[in-house]
């Protein structure tokens, strides 16, 4: 009986175990999607790795916009032992009110609260050093524009979550931001990720880097020149574009005033990229295209003589006048019409062409349509379709009644400069996909031929005469380099009604250098200059000259000999030396160097170098404290110099 009981129990237990083992085998070996799902949920964890935003660099790889790692501080109020002391410490560190921090971390029910976003490494190290339980960091990226306002309206800026909000940042959002990675990892009983391949956690997916055609140094120089011009002429604003005529790549695209994209959230002023967003009447710079079209159609030649009606030409009830009374001529050649910027002459050429031909010419040069540069918000410009009345045809021929963008004008001049081909302007040199190692380069794209090579050559010659002595663009002249270009002074259209704003002009100049082998096409516009004239010849032409000089010098372009007036004359220097005795070196002129001071000289306000020159020869140890200009000295001014002198310098604020 006993034995049979034992056998029953053994069989029962064995059966039970057997069933359990069979169930286990079934669960482990027979595929079951539902159990797979539960298992995956229980043991796996999905981690999202956010990508680092790609950089924006200039044509030489210099940083214009970069993303760096930053550390965002958060708190888990539940595990902070002493919220009062923690808040006090944090408030002191961040220089904020104690209450603002304490209110965030006092609520023990909360498990996550942001305390400060995007701190730098030093602050991270410092706060980590406090070893306060309940404070932790999350790595995030921070967008930095190291050159501040440089090319800001072109670059744009990013928002709080690093998303592009304007300019190239917005246009190339998908390229720059990249694809974040999602990684599935096993987790332990507490839900923490189990590490098998450490690289997965430490790797950061990267967005593509965007290389621009912009030259940072040239861009800075152009912006600096615009700033100076705006101050000098008390103008509202100024903008400029520099292109390579060979392929229409944009070397500089500048606006002044501009803004600092690092603080874009503080103000929404000056964000417009006026070179592509604003359309306006440019005035006489358009004459080049009207004449170019007439040349190409065989209507005129450079030496064709046109009756310029002594400066006043009647079309019905309206009169077309020359801008300058000194330019009232009876007759001018086509070349002189360009050189003297004759409105009457250009009008007559346009009327000979007919409105349809002028319209086709201007459309051919790219006006009235987007240039295709690929920047956000590019304007088409305004060019109405013919038929036009005669006075409108005349007006359009010299740049009134047609609104264009700065980039359109520069690109059309590039077509003249390169021998007659209109290319699509571009600002993206290449896009480098760091993850895949792919490089996408932008190639030159010719849209159409707008002038024959011969006529483009003739236009270059005629535009060179503008910068010759007596021409309207004489101030754009650069010694040693032939310059071709055209001035334009246009009244500003009243945005609130019909007609023009009295006393408001746009002075602009468009041209290229060197005229014989163009390397730079430069367009400059100054809005509403109020001081020291408003004509383009005095406002825009000198800016063009300064930009062109810098660009050529930097490139190392060798100047060519034109005339003796360009040369440094040796006898001039000799004469100056003879006629100006103070410049002749003699012992009389350098007494300070022979007789060093015995008392402390007046050094306050001097630079360190100037101060040290004054103390030259003095047998004392000089203790320099700080940087910048001299704030105070010890001993004080006039007191006898001892063995030791101290110069305390006032720091010059340079960020």
């Amino acid at each position: 009986m006993y034995k049979s009981r034992v056998i029953v129990i053994v069989f029962f237990i064995t059966g039970l175990w057997g069933a359990m083992i069979m169930r286990g085998v079934y669960l482990q070996l027979v595929p079951n999607p539902q159990f797979e799902k539960i298992k995956h949920r229980q043991f796996s964890r999905m981690i999202k790795l956010s990508s680092r935003r790609g950089d924006i660099l200039d044509r030489k790889g210099k940083e214009l916009a970069v993303s760096v790692t930053s550390y965002s501080l958060f708190a888990d109020p539940k595990i902070i032992k002493d919220p009062y002391a923690t808040a006090k410490k944090l408030a002191r560190h961040f220089r904020v009110s104690f209450r603002s921090v304490y209110n965030k971390i006092k609520n023990k029910k909360k498990r996550f609260v942001w305390l400060r976003r995007r701190l730098d490494r030093e602050e991270y190290d410092k706060i980590q050093g406090w070893k306060i339980r309940g404070l932790a960091f999350k790595e995030e990226f921070k967008r930095i524009y190291p050159n501040k306002s440089l090319a800001a309206p072109v670059l744009g800026f990013v928002g709080r979550e690093q998303q592009g909000l304007d300019g190239l940042e917005k246009k190339f959002e998908s390229v720059l931001s990249g694809d974040g990675k999602k990684v599935s990892v096993q987790r332990d009983a507490r839900g923490r990720a189990l590490v098998e391949d450490g690289r997965i956690f430490a790797s950061t997916p990267e967005g593509s880097d965007v290389y621009l055609t912009i030259d940072k140094e040239l861009q800075y120089w152009v912006e600096d020149q615009l700033q100076q011009a705006v101050r000098e002429h008390d103008a509202e604003s100024a903008w400029a574009v520099v292109l390579n005529p060979e392929n229409s790549e944009i070397l500089a695209m500048a606006n002044y005033p501009s803004y600092d994209p690092n603080r874009a959230y503080k103000s929404n002023k000056n964000r417009r990229n006026k070179t592509i967003h604003d359309v306006y009447e440019t005035g006489s710079v358009m004459k080049a295209f009207s004449v170019g079209g007439a040349l190409d159609r065989g209507i005129v030649e450079p030496n064709t003589r046109i009756n310029t009606e002594n400066g006043v030409f009647r079309i019905g009830k309206r009169k077309i006048k020359e801008a300058d009374k000194s330019h009232y001529f009876k007759e001018l050649t086509v070349s002189e019409i360009i050189s003297y910027s004759s409105n009457v002459g250009t009008s007559k050429i346009a009327l000979m062409m007919t409105d349809k031909a002028l319209y086709e010419t201007l459309m051919g040069f790219g006006f009235g349509e987007k240039s295709g540069v690929g920047l956000l918000g590019e304007a088409r410009g305004l060019l109405s379709e013919p038929p036009w009345r005669d006075h409108l045809t005349a007006n359009i021929s010299f740049g009134h009644g047609v609104a264009v963008t700065a980039l359109q004008v520069a690109n059309a001049y590039a077509a003249i400069a390169n021998g007659g081909e209109l290319n699509r302007p571009y600002i993206i040199k290449e896009i480098r996909d760091v993850e895949k190692g792919e490089v996408i380069k932008t190639k030159k794209k010719t849209i159409r031929r707008v002038l024959t090579e011969k006529n483009a050559g003739l236009m270059k010659m005629m535009l060179s005469s503008v910068v010759a002595e007596g021409g309207s663009g004489y101030k754009a002249r650069i010694y040693g380099y032939p310059v071709a270009g055209k001035t334009g002074t246009a009244q500003k259209v009243d945005p609130n009604g019909r007609g023009y704003l009295p006393g408001h002009y746009i002075s602009n100049f468009s041209g290229f250098v060197p005229a014989n082998d163009p390397r730079y096409v430069i367009y400059v516009a100054v809005d509403s200059p109020k001081k020291q004239g408003y004509y383009a010849s005095t406002v825009a032409a000198p800016i063009f000259r300064n930009i062109a000089k810098f660009a050529l010098r930097r490139e190392g372009a060798t100047p060519v000999y034109f005339s003796d007036s360009d040369l440094v004359r040796q006898n001039q220097v000799v004469e100056e030396e003879v006629s100006d005795p103070p410049h002749v070196l003699s012992l009389k002129n350098i007494p300070d160097r022979l007789d060093p001071p015995t008392v402390m000289p007046a050094l306050e306000g001097l630079t360190l170098k100037e101060a040290l020159i004054k103390l030259h020869g003095v047998d004392v140890d000089i203790d320099i404290r700080g940087e910048g200009r001299v704030l105070s000295t010890r001993p004080k001014e006039g007191e006898p110099l001892k063995k030791r002198a101290q110069l305390r310098l006032r720091p010059t604020v340079i960020q």
Partner: protein, 99 residues
């Protein structure tokens, strides 16, 4: 050792081998995990260094920014912008041209 003894020991040896195999398996798994963490540490270090390098290059970009260089040149050093006629360029023929 007699045949009988070998026969007696065989199950023990089998169990021992099985245990050794299991221990080795567990050890390798542990070692794999441990190396994963060491690798993570090194990868984090590498990442940190990359971040530092990025921060340094940013600092360099900031320090060599043309605006800052100009400010330093004109405010800390007694330098001025070259005025008209102060720059002289040479032609290929050796003629000096005023700029």
């Amino acid at each position: 050792m007699s045949k009988h003894q070998v026969q007696t020991l065989k199950p023990f040896v089998s169990v021992l081998l099985l245990m050794c195999f299991l221990f080795a398996f567990a050890f390798i798994k542990m070692e794999n995990r441990r190396m994963g963490y060491s690798f993570l540490k090194l990868a984090q270090k590498e990442k940190q260094l990359r971040n530092q390098q990025r921060a340094k290059s940013l600092q360099l970009a900031h320090m060599t920014g043309p605006e800052r260089v100009q400010l330093l040149a004109t405010q800390r050093l007694p330098l001025k912008k070259a005025g008209s006629g102060q720059i002289i360029q040479m032609t290929e023929g050796g003629l000096a041209i005023i700029q």
